[in-house]
């Protein structure tokens, strides 16, 4: 029988062998990547989470009782969740993305003048509406609930499914929806396990894992406590420390705020000089009606518990308003109007505006197009 006939002849056994060869070769590439990602785990969601999760609470306690702050350790959401569980002494909490994470109530007297002190910044990178539900749920189950919640509302806050980061705390998300009596939303439930699996073979994650792999100071099995974990030197912060310059490493301050590392500051400024404008939810609808509905229900629920809610609209850099980014400008304008409508319906005070021109911002007030410098936040006007 000639070769052509053999090739065309149906034979399940040989097809199985071909399929196995295909799978084996694909796995030859995917498995080592998955293994390295699993062990080195820069996002601390696999092995590093398994070994660090039990210490995250100790870390949060050490952070809250530190002099200034502690070097960032494990997954920031996990840490913030533990800080939220210990938030009973705090009268004000701040919610929001990396845009407001640099707002340090302790170092910004302007903030303390307008909101009950002490205040705790619970913000986390890529904060979305799902996070707002999660952290509210945690706070409402503490012995003492805060008097005020300051929500930094971003242009993407009124939309579902913009970041999978919340999935690490998805039980609280579901818990809050149950508590609000919401049976169905238009939020497409994502499956954490599937996200974990797809992320384990992500090239971008792999690059970060390789950075860890080549870092001699990184221990695969971390020390079993945080006694020796680097704490910021209090002496550095005594006389006029320049927060805009960043610190030697990324630091979480004792009030939950983030102090970027010098390297991160440099990267953001470099990004800014490249004219880069990119943020989550840059495409698609301005808001989801159902997300707006849930957001308002949450606010009403919180207000009924006696908590005062404030909205903060942090400005974007003038780069967005240079006439080259009209789509972003239109989006920001429309969302801001929507947020003001929600605020007015629910008797909520709104501080600030996205518009750099209205808030008289200069390019030098920002690290990149969306992150205001700590000095900008320090001078943010909360008086009206």
């Amino acid at each position: 029988m000639n070769k052509k006939n053999i090739a065309a002849r149906p034979d399940p056994w040989i097809d199985l062998k071909y399929s196995l060869t295909f799978c084996a070769c694909a796995l030859l590439i995917l498995l080592p990547v998955a293994l390295i990602n699993f062990i080195y785990d820069p996002g601390e969601i696999y092995f590093q989470r398994m070994v660090k999760d039990k210490y995250a609470d100790d870390y949060a306690k050490m952070l809250l009782s530190s002099d200034v702050g502690v070097k960032e350790s494990t997954n920031e959401r996990i840490v913030k969740a533990h800080m939220a569980q210990h938030a009973s002494p705090y009268k004000t909490v701040i919610f929001g993305s990396s845009r407001i994470m640099q707002l340090s109530p302790l170092h910004m007297p302007n903030f303390q003048n307008y909101f009950p002190a002490p205040a705790l910044n619970l913000g986390a990178s890529a904060w979305t509406i799902e996070d707002t539900l999660i952290f509210t749920h945690i706070l409402l189950h503490n012995d003492t609930i805060p008097q005020a919640i300051v929500i930094s509302v971003d242009p993407w806050t009124l939309r579902w499914n913009l970041s999978p980061s919340y999935l690490i705390l998805e039980d609280h998300f579901k818990g809050m929806l149950d508590e609000l009596g919401i049976k169905k939303t238009t939020q497409k439930p994502e499956h954490y396990l599937i996200k974990l699996l797809t992320n384990s073979i992500s090239y971008n994650y792999f690059v970060q894992s390789l950075k860890r792999l080549s870092d001699p100071s990184f221990n695969i099995i971390p020390k079993n406590d945080f006694k020796d974990w680097p704490q910021a030197n209090a002496a550095d912060f005594v006389n006029g420390f320049d927060f805009d310059q960043g610190y030697d490493y990324q630091l979480t301050l004792k009030d939950g705020a983030r102090l970027f590392s010098k390297e991160n500051v440099w990267e953001m400024i470099y990004d800014y000089n490249q004219g880069h404008v990119g943020y989550i939810g840059q495409q698609g609808a301005y808001w989801d009606d159902n997300a707006v509905d849930v957001f308002e229900k949450l606010i009403n629920y919180v207000q009924k518990k006696g908590i005062k809610v404030y909205f903060v609209l942090l400005p974007f850099s003038p780069l967005v308003y240079d006439g080259q980014h009209t789509a972003d400008q239109d989006r920001f304008l429309a969302v801001e109007q929507k947020i003001r409508e929600i605020a007015s319906r629910n008797n909520i005070k709104v501080f600030g505006t996205y518009d750099a021109q209205k808030s008289h911002m200069q390019a030098t007030n920002f690290f990149d197009f969306q992150h205001p410098r700590p000095s900008t936040l320090r001078n943010f006007d909360f008086s009206h």
């Binding site: 399929s19 599937i194 490249q274």
Partner: protein
């Protein structure tokens, strides 16, 4: 749904193929077609279910028109022609409203003292492709080349998911006989191997090559930056390669997915950057669109059968229409116009028997294409002029772009000029362990980049 998504690769495609094969194996051929048509509509609706009625209306309208033309075969010619014209108007109105209405209104607002409000219109995915496919079908029915009485077959012809969103633009006569063939109902191991290879190559081109070039192209085209000469060349070449790897990658995936069903879609690319003149380029780039314009615009206008000036005029009109097909904007029109002019020059040179050295011919053609892609990609004339002028501004030196960009551009040249293209290699794919291993490695490597997935460039056209 994107070809380069987990939901397509791990769920939609295997499930669609499995059920289709089982139904065919059970000799339920009608059911298998119903399944494939429904799956294709689901594939389309995944992006935005609100546009499903639109494609269904378009299918129903064109099917009804085609049936009416077929019924009028023995009646006076005028009726048949009238029906065709009504059918064409229906398609062009649909396309015109969704794609060109706002462009028309905003231009009207620029010249008239009164202002009309611009509507909020979302461009339905693939409307240019499925409308052109159906226009070609109506004309073919009118000419007596195509005939179809089954609504199911017609729906499958239009919606078959591998070609639905971004082509290739197909003809009824090259598709439906393949669906009718009994032989094609059986699993074909060679086609599955060839299809897997093409799909994996497409995935590699899109995720690893095109999406990497995208970073440097976007830097120049989206950023408000002043480029040095080197940076401007890196930006323009990055876009030139991004567009090729993106669109040919998509086409490879479409052809590959289709081969699993034993359907051979027409090739769309034949190493276009090897072209030695602009005419040659259009025989190699987006070949099914070129074919469409040749058969349904250029030849009906008179082609080259009349005087030379008239035939040059026909070329220019065809290319300007081709330009505006890509998007509602003056820059697309300008791009089409420039290609039309270049095409005329190339024909004129041939009539004078002018022959350039092969390298010189390639160099001129490639650079013309590269420069005109800058106009094609730019959001406005200012951006285009900024990049084009920087490309020839010797006073601006240095580069802040990563050196990886230079490596990728070199790789882009080597791949597009030095290697056989995916269609040529696919001819050699045979069921063997060697090919199974190679396809597995290529697929595994591409899967690493799945999380950076982005839409295909030609989805917007």
């Amino acid at each position: 749904m994107l070809f380069n998504s987990y939901s397509f690769i791990l769920i939609f495609f295997p499930l669609t193929f499995l059920v289709y094969s089982i139904l065919n194996r059970s000799k339920l051929t009608i059911a298998s077609r119903v399944w494939l048509a429904c799956a294709s509509l689901f594939f389309y609706g995944w992006w935005n279910p609100a546009f499903l009625p639109l494609i269904l209306i378009s299918i129903a309208g064109n099917y009804a028109t085609a049936c009416s033309i077929q019924r009028y075969v023995k009646r006076p010619k005028l009726n048949k022609k009238m029906i065709l014209i009504i059918g064409l108007c229906f398609n062009l109105l649909l396309l015109g409203y969704f794609k060109y209405f706002n462009f028309f209104i905003s231009n009207l607002n620029n010249v008239l003292p009164i202002k009309f409000s611009v509507a909020e219109i979302i461009l339905p995915l693939g409307i240019s492709f499925f409308t052109f496919t159906q226009i070609a079908y109506l004309v073919d029915v009118y000419r007596g080349i195509a005939k179809e009485y089954s609504l199911l077959n017609y729906t499958l012809f239009v919606t078959f998911f591998p070609h639905l969103i971004a082509g290739p633009i197909i003809h009824h006569k090259e598709m439906m006989p393949q669906f009718d063939s009994i032989k094609n109902k059986l699993l074909n191991r060679k086609n599955i191997f060839a299809g897997s290879f093409l799909f994996s190559v497409g995935l590699f081109k899109k995720l690893i090559l095109a999406d990497t070039f995208r970073i440097w192209a976007n830097y120049g085209f989206n950023g408000n930056v002043h480029l040095t000469m080197i940076e401007a060349w890196v930006v323009s070449l990055s876009y030139t390669f991004q567009l090729y790897f993106d669109f040919s990658g998509y086409t490879d995936m479409a052809l590959g997915a289709s081969l699993f069903f034993n359907i051979k879609l027409p090739a769309n690319f034949n190493s276009p950057y090897r072209a030695l003149d602009v005419q040659d380029f259009w025989r190699r780039w987006h070949m099914t669109l070129s074919r469409f314009f040749r058969d349904y615009v250029y030849i009906p206008l008179g082609g080259n059968r009349r005087s030379m000036p008239r035939s040059y005029f026909n070329i220019l009109v065809t290319f300007i229409i081709g330009g505006i097909w890509h998007g509602a904007g003056w820059l697309f029109m300008l791009w089409g116009f420039l290609h039309g002019i270049a095409n005329m020059i190339s024909r004129w040179a041939k009539t004078l028997n002018i022959k350039l050295n092969m390298f010189v011919a390639w160099f001129l053609t490639f650079n013309f294409i590269n420069l005109t892609w800058v106009i094609f990609r730019s959001k406005d004339m200012g951006t285009a002029m900024n990049i084009l002028s920087s490309m020839f501004d010797l006073s601006k030196k240095g580069s802040s772009i990563s050196s990886l960009a230079f490596l990728f551009i070199l790789a882009g040249f080597v791949i597009t000029l030095g290697f056989k293209n995916s269609n040529e290699i696919t001819q050699k794919v045979t069921p063997s362990y060697r090919w199974a291993a190679l396809i597995g490695l290529l697929f595994g490597l591409s899967m690493l980049f799945m999380t950076r997935r982005s839409e295909f460039l030609y989805f917007q056209f």
